[in-house]
């Protein structure tokens, strides 16, 4: 522990602990496992997306790439994560994170084109993610149209053809099981 703890100074640790919901130290251990042998600098190293996706917790998640993109702060938008990004991710998905944070990130994850609203294209992609890639589970075009129009009918209060963040949060906040299912435990 001595060598691993040395990089994550006590001050930094407590600082992180104030700002995130998850346990920093376990996240740190997990993150340093993700790093290769030659990458010693845990705090500043960037882990490429492919390696993040090998985490068993993310492996079968249909939104795994979106999760990486949303939490990545990299300039080149390649979905690679630093330790801090990783902490952000775990914090948002942790047990004790608030509904507010969770819904915010959920919105960003579902917003596939990053334009700040969920339009028809986003919703379609979302449905395709949820139904899996195989042909037998895919919805037909007619079903898809019906589904999206139903969704917009319910939640699109200002009738602009898209679901914006506040509408999304309004919907999510009423859901009984969003908070319990929107979590990832390491």
């Amino acid at each position: 522990m001595g060598t691993t703890a040395s990089q994550l100074g006590k001050d930094l640790l407590s600082e992180y602990q104030v700002t995130v919901f998850c346990f920093v130290f376990s996240a740190y251990k997990r993150f340093s496992e993700l790093l290769g042998k030659d990458e010693k600098d845990v705090l500043h190293e960037r882990v490429p997306m492919d390696r993040i996706l090998t985490l068993p917790e993310l492996k079968s998640n249909p939104f795994r790439k979106r999760i990486c993109y949303v939490f990545s702060t990299s300039d080149s938008k390649n979905g690679s994560l630093t330790f801090e990004d990783f902490l952000d991710l775990l914090s948002a998905f942790s047990d004790s994170a608030t509904m507010e944070i969770k819904s915010h990130y959920a919105f960003r994850i579902f917003d596939f084109d990053d334009d700040g609203t969920l339009d028809c294209g986003d919703l379609e992609k979302l449905v395709n993610c949820l139904t899996g890639e195989t042909d037998e589970t895919k919805l037909t075009a007619e079903e898809m149209r019906q589904l999206i129009s139903n969704i917009l009918e319910e939640s699109d209060i200002d009738k602009d053809g898209t679901v914006n963040l506040s509408e999304f949060q309004h919907v999510i906040s009423r859901s009984p099981d969003f908070v319990s299912s929107f979590k990832i435990v390491l």
Binding site: E15, Y16, T19, H44, N61, E84, L130, D160, R174, F178
Partner: protein, 874 residues
């Protein structure tokens, strides 16, 4: 003060607008300012933007930068810059006068406050605010704050008025609050850290300065203590999470099977906790005192095995049936002596027994209701179908799923749920053959009722038969005949649910509705069985009591004959010592009841384990290994692997608990047995789930049903305490066994204690207090209080709704304003360009916007009206 500010909100916002404009003008003014300062500012700005954009560089790189920023700030404190700044300040403030200073302070304070409130505001607003802050704060306002801060520092030492001090204190408090609320903000961690550091620095800087005079030490002490307390709390929280047993096991299952299977194990763990406490109560306050301080075994008749049974008392078969030595031990009611106080502690044994019996029930009620209330709070508005599609869409994925197979099942189930929803939506318009469905449903319910009645009759029949066997003497019968009751009950509990499942296929309900019906039916079945069992038991109790009367009479005859016999031999010497084993004794119905329950629990546990081993493990083994040499694919085809049946297991657990509550009074060992059972089933089921079950095809979410389980538990608790309390209150205890022997009723022990252990006035007060004249008004008082409590809860939920609507409204207004502003600007631009077509084009979207806003507004109004109606109803 706070309220004032909030009321002033609008004004402040307007002021902010002014401020912004002022900032702009200041920037213009800044042109004339001295060069070095601008450069300094520019550099700081650059560092900040650098930080924000280049998050990729690690912390250590940022830190020096921050430090350089800090250095820039501290550099200000050096004389030259300070004076320069002062000049500049004066220059800037010349026009506005002193007023502005106060205003600015207020603005900054309000900004912080808005940050606080931001937690409740919508993200978008916050994001906007953040952006705004980034844009404005960095160039001008940041400096404003710094300057202000510097000013305050300059002024502070001597001439700080109490009002300013107050303000400073408020600012510090707000910063602290910000630090606390920081983790609840959806910002990147980098930004959080920067804000945290700044705020901490601010707090540290000014905290010490606060309360310079008299209160300083106290304040510092308070701060220190609060810090320590926070740390302690955090550590304690960590400790608590580390102490939760089986956490890793459950997490593992959760990641394989999703949250619904895990919810069963969490429920099991919760149950284990409750039983642990019940066990501690009965073990610590009843069993151990009696065993240690009560009279030892063999001293009195009730603590001795009767002569007739003595030969077989140690046989395993007898012990397995909880007869023999097990029956005459602390495990059962009959063993306890009615001695008022035992041991050197003068422990009031009968009283303790009674209070523990009542206490276990009271504790269970408390825990269940509290958990229900907490769950209700968490889940918020429950059955609301208005966002059916959206919830399916946005919340159906269980992010905990880490197993590809489960994920595939989940995909399939989501797809079917989408299709179902679409179909439902389509079908809600047209109605199909309603008569046929109705007929089928009635038929199904009729069949289920038949099943229930049949099972009830079967149990009644079996119990009566077993009584006949018992009268004949158990030794003459086979194993099956002796254990018929328990076996029949377990088998019914096993096969009837399957039957119901088949029947429910007739009904053509939606799966979730079907599940609820299924649960309700199983519940009815178990309940019916349990109550039939109890009614049969009641009959038996009555039989035993008749028997007891006869024996009582016989004993008096026997004693008289004994007495006469001894008198004739020797009148002074003590009578011949009779072995306690030879004394005739009553049947002791309480022990009988306890034994029945213990046997029931044991056989229930056995059936559960055996079905687990055969139904799951053996099946899995067969399917796995016979698959190599079988004609069809066993894994995919008919037998396949079993699924984990969450609802059935939960129901089993709940009924098991109901039996514990029912029988615990007559068999103090029941909680201990149950703890053992739960402990074993935790490990066994965890293992079985992981090794031989496949993920469910229909993956249900757990959280929705949590309170449903709790509600069932509450119903069972009520129903199981009912017969227990009935027997305690109405049936007189046996005359020669148990802690209450010799009393008219069991609860007389309270009366006795009051009379002999408490001063006379206390008994008097108690008798007055229990007078119906006092109890009745008290209950009348309780009703409005209860009503008020529920009302308040309801109002709170109403208020939440109000708040949401209000927030939406506000947002709308702002949007409206923005849209209007944009439209105006567009219009002007268009006019400048003087191109008619362009003007029309640009106008139309904003018009649409406004229209939709108006529509939204109307809808909101409707909602509010509805809410008001519901308030009026209350």
């Amino acid at each position: 003060r706070h309220r004032e500010k909030r009321v002033d909100g609008d004004i402040v916002r307007r002021k902010r607008g002014n401020e912004r404009r002022k900032g702009a003008s200041r920037a213009e003014e800044g042109e004339s300012q001295t060069r070095p300062e601008r450069i300094d500012r520019g550099r700081r700005k650059r560092t900040r933007s650098h930080q924000d954009t280049k998050g990729s560089e690690g912390d250590e790189e940022v830190q020096p930068k921050i430090q350089s920023g800090r250095a820039a700030k501290t550099r200000k404190h050096t004389k030259n810059e300070k004076t320069r700044k002062k000049e500049e300040e004066e220059k800037a403030e010349k026009g506005e006068g002193k007023e502005r200073h106060g205003k600015r302070k207020k603005t900054s304070a309000s900004k912080k406050e808005r940050e606080e409130v931001g937690g409740k505001h919508t993200m978008k607003e916050k994001a906007q605010e953040v952006k705004r802050k980034k844009h404005m704060k960095v160039p001008s306002e940041e400096d404003d704050i710094d300057e202000e801060v510097d000013e305050e520092e300059e002024v502070r030492p001597e001439s700080l008025s109490s009002e300013e001090l107050e303000k400073l204190k408020e600012a510090v408090d707000e910063r602290k609050k910000l630090i606390q609320a920081l983790r609840g903000k959806p910002w990147p961690i980098k930004k959080k850290c920067v804000i945290l550091r700044e705020s901490q620095e601010f707090v540290e800087k000014y905290e010490g300065a606060l309360g310079k005079g008299k209160g300083r030490k106290l304040y510092a002490y308070k701060v220190l203590m609060s810090k320590k307390w926070m740390k302690f709390q955090r550590d304690f929280e960590n400790f608590k999470t580390a102490c939760i047993p089986w956490e890793m096991k459950i997490k593992e299952i959760e990641s394989h099977f999703g949250s619904s299977v895990a919810s069963y194990f969490i429920f099991l763990r919760w149950m284990y906790g409750i039983n642990m406490i019940l066990f501690c109560l009965t073990f610590g306050l009843v069993m151990v005192p009696e065993a240690l301080m009560g009279r030892p075994y063999g001293t009195i008749p009730r603590k001795t095995v009767p002569r007739a049974e003595a030969t077989s008392a140690m046989d395993f078969a007898v012990l397995w049936d909880f007869g023999g030595y097990a029956q005459y031990s602390v495990l059962f009611y009959g063993y306890y002596n009615n001695q008022r106080a035992v041991g050197w502690l003068k422990f009031r044994m009968p009283l303790s027994y009674f209070l523990v019996g009542v206490g276990t029930v009271a504790y269970s009620y408390m825990v269940v209701i509290r958990t229900m209330a907490r769950n209700a709070n968490e889940s918020g508005v429950g059955d609301d179908n208005s966002f059916n599609f959206n919830w399916r869409m946005f919340t159906s994925w269980d992010y905990l799923i880490g197993n590809p197979e489960t994920a595939d099942n989940k995909f399939a189930s989501i797809t079917t749920s989408f299709k179902e929803a679409i179909l439902e939506e389509q079908e809600s318009q047209k109605d199909d053959n309603i008569h046929l469905t109705r007929f089928l449903r009635v038929l199904a319910n009729f069949l289920v009722l038949c099943c229930l009645a049949g099972s009830g009759y079967l149990i009644y029949f079996v119990v009566r038969r077993s009584q006949k066997f018992a009268l004949d003497g158990l030794e003459n019968h086979t194993w099956w005949e002796r254990n018929e009751v328990n076996m029949v009950m377990s088998l019914l509990g096993m096969f009837c649910p399957m039957l119901f499942d088949v029947i429910s296929a007739l009904e053509n309900y939606h799966p979730r509705v079907a599940l609820q019906w299924q649960l309700g039916r199983i519940f009815a079945l178990f309940l019916g069985n349990l109550y039939t069992f109890i009614i049969a038991l009641m009959d038996e109790i009555n039989l035993k009591r008749e028997e007891e009367n006869i024996i009582k009479f016989n004993i008096t005859v026997w004693e008289a004959s004994l007495f006469n016999g001894t008198v004739s031999v020797n009148s002074t010497a003590p009578p011949v010592t009779i072995e306690p084993a030879d004394v005739p004794r009553g049947p002791c119905w309480e022990t009988m009841v306890g034994q029945e329950f213990v046997r029931l629990i044991i056989s229930d546990t056995m059936t559960t384990y055996i079905t687990l081993l055969i139904g799951d493990f053996l099946r899995a083994v067969l399917v796995r290994f016979l698959n190599y040499c079988w004609c069809w694919d066993l894994e995919a085809g008919f037998p396949s692997y079993s699924e984990f049946d969450v609802s059935g297991n939960v129901l089993g657990l709940i009924f098991n608990q109901g039996m514990i509550w029912m029988g615990a009074f007559y068999a103090p060992c029941l909680p201990a047995l149950n703890v053992l059972r739960l402990h074993v089933s935790m490990y066994l089921q965890c293992w079985a789930v992981m090794c031989c079950n496949v993920p469910q095809e229909r993956v249900f979410k757990a959280s929705g049903s949590n309170n449903f389980y709790m509600a069932m538990l509450l119903v069972i608790l009520f129903l199981s305490t009912l017969p227990a309390i009935y027997t305690i209150v109405t049936i007189p205890p046996s005359f020669d066994c148990g802690p209450f022997s010799g009393k008219q009723r069991m609860f007389d022990v309270i009366q006795e204690t009051l009379e002999s252990d408490f001063p006379a006035w206390f008994g008097k007060v108690f008798s007055y207090a229990s007078n119906p004249g006092l109890v009745l008004p008290f209950m009348l008082l309780m009703v409005p209080i209860l009503h008020f409590c529920t009302l308040r809860w309801f109002l709170k939920s109403c208020n939440d709704l109000f708040y949401i609507l209000f927030k939406q409204n506000e947002e709308n207004k702002k949007k409206n304003k923005l849209a209007a502003l944009k439209a105006q600007m567009d219009l002007e631009e268009a006019r400048k360009g003087s191109s008619r077509t362009a003007q029309q084009q640009k106008n139309s979207p904003s018009l649409q916007d406004q229209e939709s806003e108006a529509f939204y507004y109307i809808e909101n109004k409707k909602k509010i009206k509805r809410k008001i109606e519901c308030k009026n109803v209350i």
